[in-house]
Subunit: 396 residues, 2 copies
């Protein structure tokens, strides 16, 4: 049995013409909480989303250390305490955002929470138990802000056989698709995630996967190159001062992950510290600037390679719409443009989406979609058996 | 700001005249999952609740051992895996119940989950973080049964300054109050919980507290007396074979907990194994049967004492309506009646509530109350600053 998903907009006395929502997100990089205030116009598959304000509240060193310790060696007691703590912390970040923005009203919050565990493949007593946990107690956020909160976006997808990720492709589709041209949304975070949006597509035609690293390796190398002075290569300036090492690049491009057909996903355990150490061992005399140049070229080349292998033969994409921190790396963008001469590169800012707050914006949109009773994940995005709602409703 | 709580009954296309719901509960004694199918008629403060079927699914020894280990030394990974496992386990218990009962339809589930942590007083980085956790992933229950699930009943109360417990008093008030007489609902579980329901009261007048132990100490002594053959004193037969030791009883009645004015709550850490060891050290020659008789008298005396001290002077109660395993202990009931000669003792079965499944029934009723947008906790029951909804909504 499967009930018809209810439309909660009317229940919550929300206006189908226009809603104001806050999206809250804390990434796996553990740098802090992102908040975005958006205005959503219309309903269904033709909503318009406008970002009214954004705010980043960085974790203090104590918070970051506490969360790292929680993930590494936390007890049940620690986890419950941090769930409540981050509930207060997320609420406070939303209040700071509102202090800047002062909108006429805010209708609801979509809160992703802080991921502390994600295990699509586990067993307990011989029972498969796909599971994931994002903390930041939604009841606390709802109580402090006095409005409903949609949270826990990944568990239902897993309950229906999905991987619980990625969730953003449906938002890419809602905000960035075209009726007339094939587009790709590219997020340059720690990893590079790509969403194909075929022309005039339905959500069933979305294809999403990780092409490989985006900033993860470059950030690490920039930290070493500047003796800790920079945590990333600002504007790609370090990469521009180095030389690409052709042999190293060719070796990196033979990485087995790049040969796998999509859908696929990867992380820092594959493209992170251990790989950088391997690179250093392989080319001990290479300067940090040359390593950064080579890694930046590798990121561009692996993205271009994925497009050329898996996308362009079937979908002659005309536009690549870029979000994430990597959009500010001019060296990376230049290299990507060189390798994809027929494709126009855009920051998603040109499409009304702040590239640094795309995920926070996405969770406001996903919360709205939940309240409309519309699915967020599809068999082709997460592997769910059936289009599936994402979220749970908490009330103030 | 505080929004008007929405009525979700209409949203979910539920009939205000009659709903069918399943309540799921797993107690801190970790004996298994209780399920009750109820028919709820009407809305607001005048609902009628009829129990159509009940089912108890005991934990296997492996499940019990796994859960005990989780609480004692579980990691974040273990917790997440068990949350998913118990989601499947609760869903399976509901399906077994339905296999027996075959109702025309079931509209929703109220699932308390298995408590693995409850800490109303904790701090993280100097921030007070009241927190509690019941596991058994509601999204999994909703997915398997294909109906909405209300769960996570304790977190919002804590977000509003409450202790997150007790939650059952509002259900006592809904099902057992009288317009014309003062009543007390008494639950004889591990501890004895009492709810005063003044005549023609509003929920603001409910008073609820733990009087002390009910079965916790007697169960332990019965286990010893029978060398592990019995986990409780069936029908109170062991108590009837022993003699009350007057000095020991008087010493027990001087326990400091009994002197505290309500509201107050206690647990096995106070009235459990350590106290039994103290009793054995105090009276090493006393037989197990005499100990059981004395503990049974102590339970009756401490309940009667609480009524006489804190309730009867202001509210001349006429009826005591009893639920929980202790209702089957005839020795306990006899002693209680002797000490309260002016009060009529009833099993809650006489009021249409199965005494062995009262909590499972209660969580079906609490889920319904959440869907109606009505509060479950009040300043006088949990200490919440304001009447507070209990629950989060998960959808299939």
């Amino acid at each position: 049995m499967r009930m018809h998903s209810p439309n909660l907009l009317a229940t919550l006395q929300l206006n189908p013409e226009v809603r104001h929502a806050i999206g809250l997100m804390a990434g796996t990089s553990m740098d802090g909480v992102d908040a975005a205030l958006v205005r959503i116009t219309g309903v269904g598959d033709t909503i318009q989303v406008e970002t009214l304000a954004t705010h980043h509240s960085p974790y203090t060193p104590q918070e970051r250390a506490g969360l790292m310790r929680l993930i590494r060696e936390g007890t049940v007691a620690d986890l419950c305490a941090w769930d409540a703590y981050l509930g207060e912390r997320f609420a406070q970040t939303a209040q700071e955002l509102l202090h800047h923005a002062r909108p006429p009203r805010v209708d609801f919050v979509g809160s992703h929470g802080q991921t502390v565990w994600h295990a699509p493949h586990t067993r307990v007593l011989d029972t498969p138990v796909a599971n994931t946990l994002q903390i930041g107690q939604p009841d606390i956020i709802a109580a402090r802000l006095g409005i409903p909160v949609v949270a826990d976006f990944r568990t239902r997808d897993m309950a229906h056989g999905g991987q619980g990720a990625p969730l953003v492709p449906i938002v890419d589709w809602l905000l960035l698709r075209s009726d007339t041209e094939h587009r790709v949304a590219l997020n340059l975070g720690g990893m590079a995630n790509l969403t194909l949006l075929p022309a005039a597509s339905t959500p069933y035609q979305i294809l999403a996967f990780d092409t490989g690293p985006a900033n993860a390796l470059i950030d690490l190398a920039a930290f070493h190159a500047t003796q800790g002075g920079q945590t990333y290569d600002r504007d790609g300036a370090l990469a521009e001062r180095g030389q690409v090492h052709t042999e190293l690049l060719e070796w990196l491009m033979r990485h087995p992950y790049l040969q796998l057909p999509p859908p696929k996903s990867t992380g820092r355990e594959v493209f992170g510290e251990p790989l950088l150490e391997e690179i250093r061992a392989r080319e001990p005399k290479l300067s940090w600037l040359d390593i950064i140049a080579t890694l930046t070229e590798f990121t561009a080349a692996s993205i271009a390679d994925a497009l050329q292998r898996w996308i362009l033969p079937q979908y002659p994409v005309t536009r690549l719409i870029i979000s994430g921190g990597g959009v500010h790396n001019l060296s990376l963008l230049r290299r990507l443009q060189q390798r994809l001469p027929t494709i126009a590169l855009h920051s998603c800012a040109e499409f009304g989406v702040d590239p640094d707050f795309k995920e926070a914006i996405a969770f406001a949109v996903l919360a709205d979609r939940f309240l409309q009773g519309l699915p967020a994940t599809y068999p082709n995005t997460t592997g769910t058996r059936t289009p599936t709602l994402a979220g749970k409703l908490a009330l103030p």
